[in-house]
């Protein structure tokens, strides 16, 4: 690969049709720091986090209200199956005791007609005059679908459009990198509508700032607090926890260490590094009180002692575990919010974090097994600057290891899709087009199914079925170009100085212009970056 082709494809998102050629690759990359727009038009036009969180809050309040009514009517929580065995004529109450914040194992596929094709819709038709289905599982599915339709789908399209049109494709790539580093997955009811917001609110504004600031924005975002169960973590010895114990409340609140663990394991230090299980638990205790306002209206809000706009981060002192904590061998005597905040500050610049981030970044640009020399360079930069991200990116751009002429990475479905759209000059997208395509290609946006995010190695993406799907997708995309595109010329632009004679020949020998486009999109050059 030529340096220009590396800059455009490995660092960038592929060539956009009509883009001027890159003459000075390194300057083209660093120049993007000034051109990047944290809130481009497609994203600025979306509903805000507080609107989406408000919608979620209304739903959760409805469910809780139904639960309360049921308890008052003396009907104990039970499984839906038990209700069906009741005598005919009995009208079951509106909701059972199912946790409304439950994980959607199979129901939440934000606007996902592809996978439903073979499976009949699970939902039974609603009885006339009912606003909500009676079965809480159905009800939750219906809500998740609505959030998927109203918010998730629009956010996916906005993300794609921003990537197609950006004057700063390298910085956009970094946005995608960090959003995956701080992954939430839209297969949880409370996260479906908010999954894109984490990227838009917490990653985009800080992609050219300090790692520490991005970390804080992410860990305080409602999508993360809900996804990793932090919002419901309560210190047993907190004021509210003590009250609940005295009252022998039906459900005793307690500590949830999910977010604390993933912060250490995934977001900062890295798995199997310097921390122990005791550190995780202690950090979880320190984190209690970090929660979301507005989503626990009524009793929940009174319990936590907070109020405010839905989705806002709040520190709820009433549920915070009191006392000093010991984490990574150090005492943390701070009170309240300042306690976890101080720990997080320490984690943000910890040497293990520097190594973890350096390794992931090097893997993203220089190969599945990144060269140790590059990892060391990035690590040094991170430590020397206290996690200043533009400095880190400059170190990457300056490192010869990132410019190795052999293609370093197999494109992920996301990468491949965006590069394809850009190559074809796509500027507009049908509402569900990109979403469905990415689902079909195996990488639905913001839905990696795990807080670890999507894998960044070829083995995850270069499987036979995955490649067949790309070929199928390429043929359909090419058909839509309606023979207006000369793939012979375009391929040369996409890989300046780097198009192999065999690919050029395969494209030139295509039976039609459209077939040439399809071959271009699945050429070995196009599959990698």
């Amino acid at each position: 690969m030529s340096d220009a082709s590396i800059a455009l494809n490995r660092f960038g998102l592929g060539v956009r049709a009509g883009e001027p050629p890159v003459t000075d690759p390194k300057r083209w990359l660093t120049g993007q720091f000034d051109r990047y727009d944290a809130r481009p038009a497609p994203i600025a036009g979306l509903p805000s986090t507080s609107v989406i969180a408000g919608n979620l809050a209304d739903y959760l309040a409805d469910v809780r209200e139904q639960q309360r009514e049921r308890r008052q009517s003396g009907d104990m929580p039970q499984r839906p199956g038990q209700q069906r065995r009741r005598a005919a004529g009995y009208t079951p109450p509106a909701a059972s005791g199912t946790d409304p914040a439950m994980t959607m194992q199979d129901g939440t596929e934000p606007g996902a007609p592809m996978r439903r094709r073979n499976a009949p819709m699970q939902d039974m038709p609603m009885a006339e005059g009912q606003d909500m289905p009676r079965d809480p599982v159905q009800q939750a599915r219906q809500f998740a679908r609505r959030q998927g339709r109203d918010y998730y789908a629009g956010a996916v399209t906005a993300r794609c459009l921003a990537s197609l049109d950006t004057p700063a494709p390298f910085v956009e790539r970094m946005v995608h990198f960090w959003a995956n580093h701080f992954a939430v997955s839209a297969d949880k009811l409370t996260v479906v509508g908010l999954s894109g917001q984490l990227e838009f609110d917490a990653v985009r504004p800080h992609v050219l700032g300090k790692f520490r600031d991005m970390l804080f924005a992410v860990e305080r975002h409602p999508a993360m607090l809900l996804y990793l169960d932090q919002a419901q973590s309560v210190g047993p010895n907190s004021v509210a926890g003590q009250v609940a114990q005295r009252r022998q409340a039906r459900q005793q609140p307690g500590l949830n260490e999910n977010l604390a663990r993933e912060i250490m394991e995934l977001h900062t230090l890295g798995v199997r590094t310097v921390y122990t299980q005791a550190d995780v638990t202690e950090f979880a205790r320190a984190m209690t009180g970090w929660t979301v306002s507005g989503l626990g209206r009524g009793a929940g809000a009174r319990f936590a002692g907070v109020d405010g706009n839905p989705g806002d981060f709040v520190f709820a002192d009433r549920i915070h575990e009191p006392g000093a904590r010991t984490i990574l061998g150090k005492q943390w005597p701070q009170q309240g919010y300042a306690q976890a905040s101080a720990v997080l500050d320490m984690l943000a610049t910890h040497p293990a974090t520097a190594k973890h981030i350096a390794t992931k970044l090097a893997r993203h640009f220089a190969g599945d097994d990144p060269p140790p020399a590059l990892v060391a360079k990035l690590e040094r930069s991170f430590l020397a600057t206290g996690g200043d991200l533009p400095s880190l990116y400059r170190a990457l751009i300056d490192a010869p290891e990132a410019w190795a002429p052999k293609p370093a990475k197999f494109r992920t479905p996301w990468d491949w899709t965006i590069a394809s759209y850009r190559a074809l000059g796509t500027r507009e997208l049908q509402p569900l087009a990109a979403q469905n395509l990415l689902r079909q290609l195996g990488q639905p946006v913001w839905q990696p199914g795990s807080p670890a995010g999507w894998d960044d190695v070829a083995a995850s993406w270069a499987g036979p079925d995955a490649i067949m799907r790309r070929v199928e997708a390429a043929e359909r995309m090419a058909q839509r170009t309606r023979d207006t595109l000369d793939a012979r010329a375009r391929a040369a632009e996409l890989f300046p100085g780097a198009l192999s004679p065999s690919t050029a020949q395969a494209i030139a020998r295509a039976e039609s212009p459209g077939q040439g486009v399809a071959l271009m999109l699945v050429a070995p050059e196009f599959m990698r970056r």
């Binding site: 199928e472 390429a474 077939q515 699945v522």
Partner: protein
């Protein structure tokens, strides 16, 4: 992959999409055709094992060469002194008894290498080498027929090579699954040839594609549904007269016994559904079933067979002058094998198809051969393949 959704009514022609009215027939605008002939070509993609379909049990070398794979024929009724039909082919056996099935063994197209894509291209184009001829023999056959009878349909998402050409044909996609066209797949294959990572993955992907479109899927119900669908399309008053069905899953490199057995059961079910669905039209129907090449005579280390040369072809239908096996049998002793490993072909598949088409449509033999297989070496046509 072939998953017929019978409620779909969209027919795709070579030039675009047109929606056929759901009420077929009843219009007087079309004059009655001079005959009621129907013709079906079923392609077995993946190199079906002719020796495992119609076994030369009378050949003294057969049992030794085939070992455990031959055990399927232990109790299979013999058709004659030499051959026995696979026990799963019960409908076909019934047709044979009714003299409506005819087999030609030790056949091969002119292709002598072992690539599926190239072999299928030769079989479908009717050329003597891959990519030499640009249209298909089945399409060229249409130009020999009166317009009322030259109406063909591919039971596939896209028109397969055998049906491509200057006569416009329809295709019916049994499912909404977007399959990439075979032509693109072939070009991708050659583009990935020198890329180790993509080549390996692609080989596996295309092999899987053959398996997923096979007849064994859904316990054979897909195959039966496909036969029923095809019969319906052929029986409609203004419907097609000629159909091509693609079947995959014949590439049995491992554990052949079970796989081939279910494949054959699926094929047999499809034939039964065709006969049932065509009703009285069966009397005027000829079905040709053929594959691109055969498989090795010896069984490999994984209970399967690899790409070989000679295989067998079937002619089925009420219009077939059947109840016999045509074979200039070369023998299965090691010395008799083609390149020391394959059944030696003694009859040209092009000759079989040309002769069958000529007999079925009462076209003069040399004229039929010239149109269908213009590159073929002159060979004596096989007389009397259809009832007169």
């Amino acid at each position: 992959m072939l998953n017929p959704k019978l409620n779909r009514r969209s027919f795709v022609t070579a030039t675009g999409t047109l929606v056929l009215a759901t009420s077929i027939g009843g219009t007087a605008a079309f004059a009655a055709a001079p005959t009621n002939r129907r013709f079906v070509f079923i392609i077995q993609r993946g190199a079906a094992d002719g020796l495992g379909t119609l076994a030369p049990v009378g050949d003294p070398a057969f049992a030794g060469q085939r070992g455990a794979v031959a055990e399927d024929f232990a109790s299979a009724p013999k058709l004659d002194g030499m051959f026995a039909l696979h026990p799963n082919l019960t409908n076909v056996a019934g047709l044979y008894a009714a003299k409506e099935a005819l087999f030609v063994h030790a056949v091969a197209s002119p292709y002598r290498d072992r690539s599926h894509f190239d072999g299928q291209n030769v079989l479908e184009t009717g050329g003597t080498a891959a990519y030499q001829v640009k249209d298909g023999w089945l399409n060229r056959m249409l130009s020999l027929l009166p317009p009322a009878e030259a109406k063909a349909i591919a039971i596939a998402a896209t028109v397969p090579m055998a049906l491509r050409g200057k006569v416009e044909v329809a295709s019916y996609a049994p499912s909404a699954l977007p399959d990439a066209s075979d032509d693109l797949l072939m070009r991708v294959s050659s583009m990935y040839q020198d890329d180790p990572q993509l080549h390996a993955a692609w080989e596996q992907a295309t092999a899987t594609r053959m398996v997923t479109s096979d007849l064994a899927a859904d316990n054979g119900r897909n195959a039966i549904a496909l036969g029923t669908l095809t019969a319906k399309l052929l029986a409609a008053e203004n419907g097609s007269r000629i159909a091509m069905i693609e079947t995959g899953g014949w590439d049995t490199h491992a554990q052949q016994r079970g796989r081939l057995g279910t494949q054959l059961r699926g094929l047999d079910g499809m034939v039964g559904a065709l006969k049932a669905g065509l009703g009285p039209l069966w009397q005027d129907t000829m079905i040709v079933i053929a594959t691109e090449f055969g498989r090795t005579v010896k069984v490999n280390g994984t209970g399967g067979t690899d790409h070989g040369t000679g295989s067998m072809a079937m002619l089925l239908g009420g219009a077939v002058n059947g109840g016999r096996v045509i074979a200039d049998w070369p023998g299965l002793s090691d010395a008799a094998l083609y390149e020391g490993r394959d059944l030696k072909p003694t009859t040209g598949l092009d000759t079989v198809i040309g002769s069958a088409v000529a007999a079925h449509y009462a076209i003069e033999g040399t004229r039929a051969m010239a149109a269908l297989f213009p590159q073929a070496q002159r060979a004596k046509l096989i007389d009397g393949l259809a009832r007169v």
